[in-house]
């Protein structure tokens, strides 16, 4: 089986993100970049299939600026077999629908049986690429996938999981893996360094122009703090005071 995992490089989760000088983008100086968390789960799900059946080939692709090569290197170090970078002037700003059709071209070239995407990238948080890719391919899409064992695909729904089967190629949008995404091993890192990462020009793929929202302004979320914190004293009395305050001051009861 061949699995293609689509990943995105984003600011690391632990980074404090700041709005840039233009007031409508994020300041990129000093940012540590990483594979988006849901994409890491997708990587882990794919690599677990390879653990179970070593004949499985795991390919990985990203669309992004040239620094995204580091995310691919990381994916190779985790255990992916090959990686493809799609880049170009429009790579950073491309919307979900354009990305979906560009990735569909890559899928047709690579020929995987299953494509995995993360539920959403942790930067724009749109969660559109999986749907756009499935639509462009005419493949079914199963979302919120948390487990894939044997031929069973478990997708989380409210109150539990639906178990599905795919009868042909499919796109799975991954929300979690049972095990935490693995760290690259030292031999994995050494091997990844030697691998060629072919590059494709986004403009040469059938991306086309697709409408997407434009960011007009960005700001930090409203500041919080200055709350009433009881640092010592009788906890039970504080509980009583807060219960009353929730009703009388905060009016949320």
């Amino acid at each position: 089986m061949r699995i293609l995992v689509c990943i995105k490089q984003v600011p690391d989760s632990t980074v404090r993100v700041k709005v840039g000088a233009d007031g409508k983008s994020v300041a990129t100086d000093g940012i540590t970049w990483a594979i988006s968390p849901y994409d890491e789960y997708a990587m882990e799900l794919a690599l677990e299939r390879k653990d179970a059946d070593p004949s499985t080939v795991v390919s990985v692709v990203t669309v992004g600026p040239s620094r995204s090569r580091d995310a691919l290197r990381q994916a190779l170090a985790m255990g992916a077999d090959d990686a493809t970078l799609v880049t170009g002037a429009a790579a950073e700003a491309a919307g979900g629908i354009a990305l979906g059709s560009a990735l569909a071209t890559v899928v047709r070239e690579i020929g995987p049986d299953v494509v995995l995407v993360g539920r959403q990238a942790s930067d724009d948080e749109q969660g559109l690429v999986g749907a756009a890719l499935a639509h462009a391919l005419g493949w079914p899409l199963l979302t919120n996938v948390e487990r894939w064992t044997g031929d069973e695909i478990w997708r989380a729904t409210e109150g539990g999981h639906e178990v599905w089967k795919a009868t042909g190629p499919a796109v799975l949008s991954v929300q979690r893996s049972e095990k935490e995404p693995r760290y690259p091993s030292l031999p994995g890192i050494m091997k990844a360094k030697k691998k060629e990462i072919p590059e494709k020009d986004l403009a040469s793929l059938d991306g086309g122009a697709a409408p997407s929202p434009s960011v007009v302004a960005m700001e930090p979320p409203p500041a919080r703090g200055g709350g009433k914190i009881f640092k010592e004293g009788d906890v039970k009395q504080h509980a009583a005071a807060i219960a009353k305050a929730l009703r009388d001051e905060a009016k949320v009861l």
């Binding site: 989760s13 899409l141 979302t143 639906e162 089967k165 929202p213 302004a217 807060i242």
Partner: protein, 292 residues
């Protein structure tokens, strides 16, 4: 503008978020509301069933539930429309719309312009529910079956999940972390949640440890929540957790560690033993709710 509101039903009743967006849609234009009732709906089949109607609308609004988010993205993809997910505010401007949504795991609030036609999924509690307003008249669109190429096999219910309001729509949430020490201590959390009519949330440490089901996880790789009241018990406040809940209106935090980051965003906090706090708080809330 012509607005199509897709009403999601749960146990035969429209979900609160659907009513919120239907009320908001009335401000924006001429509204058509359809519902896609039924359990175990395949969002792919639902998107196909709704595509023609969505095509005729300038704006399609869907509540950002797990089903709704999925459906909205598929409709945007199928129709090639401008799309914004998990919108927290929405206004008409010029011949388009301006939406507010969080990005970078809640660390940034972005204002985005959406030229029409567009599709948006909208977060619960983004718009007020008018009191005494009649639910919108809806036409039912039947969306049975599944997408081509996949087959539904069975449903596996989560053991712990029972009868509570979904996290993303809850007006109150009681959320607990590693400070609870073990899954056997959740009874007091449930009692507190019962008094508040609250949903139960958890930190990632707790869901990773298997103490609670994954669907209760609040934070970057879990749910983003926006309740009126968020009670954080034994949660230190990792940046990924704060990203998922700092949009709550009022935050109450209890933690042993006076330096816990959760206190930096709390409106009310107690540095102390939550095993002492929680039962007392539950009793006090009962009294206060009775008017004492």
């Amino acid at each position: 503008m012509n607005v199509l509101v897709i009403v999601e039903k749960k146990d035969g009743e429209p979900r609160r978020v659907s009513l919120e967006i239907a009320a908001k849609a009335e401000e924006l234009g001429t509204v058509t509301a359809v519902d896609v009732g039924g359990d175990r709906l395949d969002p792919g089949a639902a998107a196909s069933a709704l595509a023609e109607r969505a095509k005729a609308a300038d704006l399609v609004l869907v509540g950002a539930t797990p089903f709704g988010r999925d459906l909205a993205a598929r409709l945007a993809a199928a129709l090639g429309r401008v799309y914004a997910s998990e919108v927290a505010d929405l206004e008409a401007e010029g011949d388009g719309l301006v939406a507010v949504r969080t990005m970078y795991a809640g660390k940034v609030r972005a204002t985005v312009r959406l030229p029409l036609p567009a599709v948006a999924s909208v977060r619960a509690n983004a718009f007020p529910l008018p009191e005494g307003g009649a639910p919108p008249k809806t036409e039912t669109v039947h969306a049975g079956g599944a997408q081509k190429g996949v087959e539904f096999v069975r449903f596996e219910a989560a053991k712990e999940s029972g009868g509570r309001v979904p996290l993303t729509e809850a007006r109150a949430i009681v959320s607990a972390g590693r400070g609870l020490k073990g899954p056997e201590n959740w009874k007091m959390i449930e009692e507190l949640a019962d008094v508040l009519g609250a949903a139960i949330g958890a930190s990632r440490a707790v869901t990773d440890a298997g103490w609670r089901p994954n669907e209760e996880q609040v934070g970057q790789t879990g749910k983003t929540v926006t309740p009126d009241l968020y009670v954080a018990l034994g949660i230190s406040g990792a940046i990924q957790h704060l990203a998922g809940m700092s949009g709550s209106k009022v935050i109450v935090a209890v933690n042993k560690d006076p330096d816990a980051d959760i206190f930096k965003i709390a409106d009310y906090g107690v540095v102390g033993d939550l095993f002492e706090f929680v039962p007392a708080f539950t009793e006090e809330l009962k009294k206060v709710k009775k008017g004492a």
